[in-house]
Amino acid sequence: MFMFEQAVVGSRRYWAWVLCLLAVIGLGFLLYLQQLSYGLGITGMSRDVTWGLYIAQFTFLVGVAASAVMVVLPYYLHDYKAFGRITILGEFLAISAVTMCMLFVFVDMGQPARALNIMLYPTPNSIMFWDFVSLGGYLLLNAVIALVTLSAEHKSVPPPAWIKPVILLSIPWAISIHTVTAFLYSGLPGRSFWLTAILAPRFLASAFAAGPALLILLCMIMRRMKAFDPGPEAVRKLAVIVTYAMILNVFFLLMELFTAFYSQIPEHTEHFRYMFVGLEGHRALVGWEWASVLLAAASLLLLIVPRLRRNEKVLAAACVVTFLSLWIDKGVCLVVCGFIPSPVGAVTEYAPTLPELGITLAIWAIGCLMVTVFYKIALSVREGLAASAVH
Amino acid sequence: MRDRPLILGGLIVFLALVTFPVWYNAAAGTSSRPPQLKLPAGQKECVAPVAFMKTSHMQLLIDWREGAVRNNVRTFTAYNGKTYNVSLTNTCLDCHGVQARAGQADFCGRCHDYAGVTPKCWNCHNDRPRN
């Protein structure tokens, strides 16, 4: 396919990295075959904690995918030129993240052979059905947008006019994917941990912090490798977005805590108690959640003080702690703690097993591989343009 | 024609792959003769005309399944006026499986092996061997 030839030429370092990822993916595939033959009992999930690391990763990555909107919106709606060079990176990040989401849902299915039943028996009253529709649509939108804009750039012509409305459509669509993902949780009568109207806003806030933080880190890595420089302005602006989003996210979490603990309704406090101090001596996630809290505090400190944020090294550290804090909160605790205690009050803890971790890691590796290849293609196209301009 | 060895080699690999099923079957000793089915002794008729059963029993089973599980239709009136309980194990195999010594494997299974299909029904539906 066009431009894909760029993915198979590269330095030794590039190939070493790709082979590394392929090895992790291969191992994960073998583990998945094992899961297929043994059943999902190979994971740490149980009758009480029926969703674990897979669905938590899915939830977190929907956010990463949606966050592409944070570079697309300023550029296309407000004509904010500094983001011109990184919108394509945001879109490719979104494509990779949505693919990972779909893979995480797929490996979580008990009967993957029947996956098509979702399309064969469409059920509009199920939020999961809408989640599939919105994720599929988002993948398609971004694939079309990235392909069309990049090939226009390749040919040094402006992108066709019809792509503009498609791009504009992708903006509300991005919001919708994460809102619908929050609705998966927040509409369940027996799960008071998730039964809160602020879940969708909180999802969006954490997404708009974690996604751009990752994008900043990717930009910095590419600059270190002398592959690409988005310019200081773009990075600085992204940092401001991360800052505001992270503040909102922490604010929303505090509102949750107030409602639960001031009202003192047991059903609402139990899950938070399990998360922060443990229940009936079960404290598996307490360390994790406090780590997330401390990282969030560090993140806020580094981000809010302008002098710190403008220092590139500090900003890099801030992005790492922000991403980690949100990953722990959303990619581990948020999903699991909703199941603990169970609706009949049983405290069953959850810890992923090695095969489960291996499969999870492999899907992350697939995502990394996709980002690597896509970014290589995008940057090669630009390099080619720059080179031909010199000649 | 420096490419000749490459082309010939490629051709040989291709032919080997294409004819693999033939070699495989020859080596495994499977034959292409139609299977010998043990039909229920003392029974003359199936739940539908035998020609229909040969070609369309899977569709009939799907209809039974949708009927019983989703629409609570659990009896079936056959073309000859007899009524049957809608059940894979308790009806089909009650007649077919009991006669054939090894349950479904001796009837359904023989034919399916021959046709190369492996219905997943037996992961859940119980076999009914003669005991």
Binding site: Q111, S126 | V73, N123
Partner: protein
């Protein structure tokens, strides 16, 4: 006759026959052609608690439905089981109920809710509510996403984390087992109701008569009389699910 024509004719005749059979089953409940049916259960816990340690209903249900006995609590499968008062009726306990009901667990099962959240969330209609109120499972369609388990506020659903067959001491060949990767739960014995029989748990409780099953839409049925004359509780009534399993406590 074409295949399609044949199937059409047999299908219609089967439907007519089923309708006729249904009518004969419910003939006692009223003169109308198709009287409304709303299956429900009343559990008289006083009668149940009288026979300490009794698990007749559980054993009967799990035997006829090939529910495996899995030692690992994480992978457990149960259609009917027992919970202490506090777990069965959270937020309805007092500081003294634990003492009052110490060591006296209450039978719990799928509530066959009038407004079932599990049905609302299922992405394939593999679980759905029948007109007569049964919350059914279609094991042929379930994709094993476990969304219904997250949605059920009563923990009534189990997932086959592993192949259940090795965990069955004996298999009742009349009823299919399940396979790894699908969700299962009590179906109020849909297959027995179709034959005009009471659910297996109810039949197993013949002696104590603690479980009463019947048609709530029929004002003269046993269940209707009981819910009208006795004070009953339902599990987590505040969630709006409208369980159709009623508990007589006092």
């Amino acid at each position: 006759m074409t295949r399609k024509g044949f199937l059409g004719v047999t299908g219609i005749s089967a439907a007519v026959l089923a309708a006729r059979k249904l009518r004969s089953v419910f003939a006692a409940s009223g003169p109308a052609a198709s009287p409304p049916v709303r299956w429900a259960m009343v559990i008289d816990t006083q009668k149940c608690l009288k026979k300490a340690g009794c698990i007749d209903c559980i054993a009967a249900c799990h035997k006829v439905h090939n529910v495996p006995e899995i030692k690992d609590r994480a992978h457990e499968i149960k259609w009917v089981w027992k919970e202490p008062f506090k777990q069965a009726f959270p937020a309805q306990e007092t500081a003294y109920t634990e003492e009052a009901y110490k060591g006296k667990p209450f039978p719990v099962l799928c509530n066959h809710c009038d407004n079932p959240p599990c049905v609302r969330v299922c992405p394939t209609k593999a679980t759905w509510k029948r007109e007569d109120g049964l919350v059914m499972m279609d094991w042929h369609r379930c994709i094993g996403c476990r969304y219904c388990m997250a949605a059920c506020p009563y923990g009534s659903r189990s997932f086959n984390w592993v192949d259940p067959r090795p965990h069955l001491r004996r298999i009742d060949i009349e009823f299919p087992t399940r396979t790894k990767g699908v969700v299962e739960k009590c179906t109020f014995c849909a297959e027995r109701l179709a034959r005009g029989q009471a659910p297996a748990c109810v039949q197993a409780c013949k002696e104590q008569k603690a479980l009463v099953f019947g048609n709530l839409a029929d004002p003269d049925s046993d269940v209707s009389r009981l819910v009208r004359s006795r004070f009953t509780l339902r599990r987590k009534p505040g969630l709006g699910t409208n369980p159709e399993v009623y508990y007589i406590i006092g």
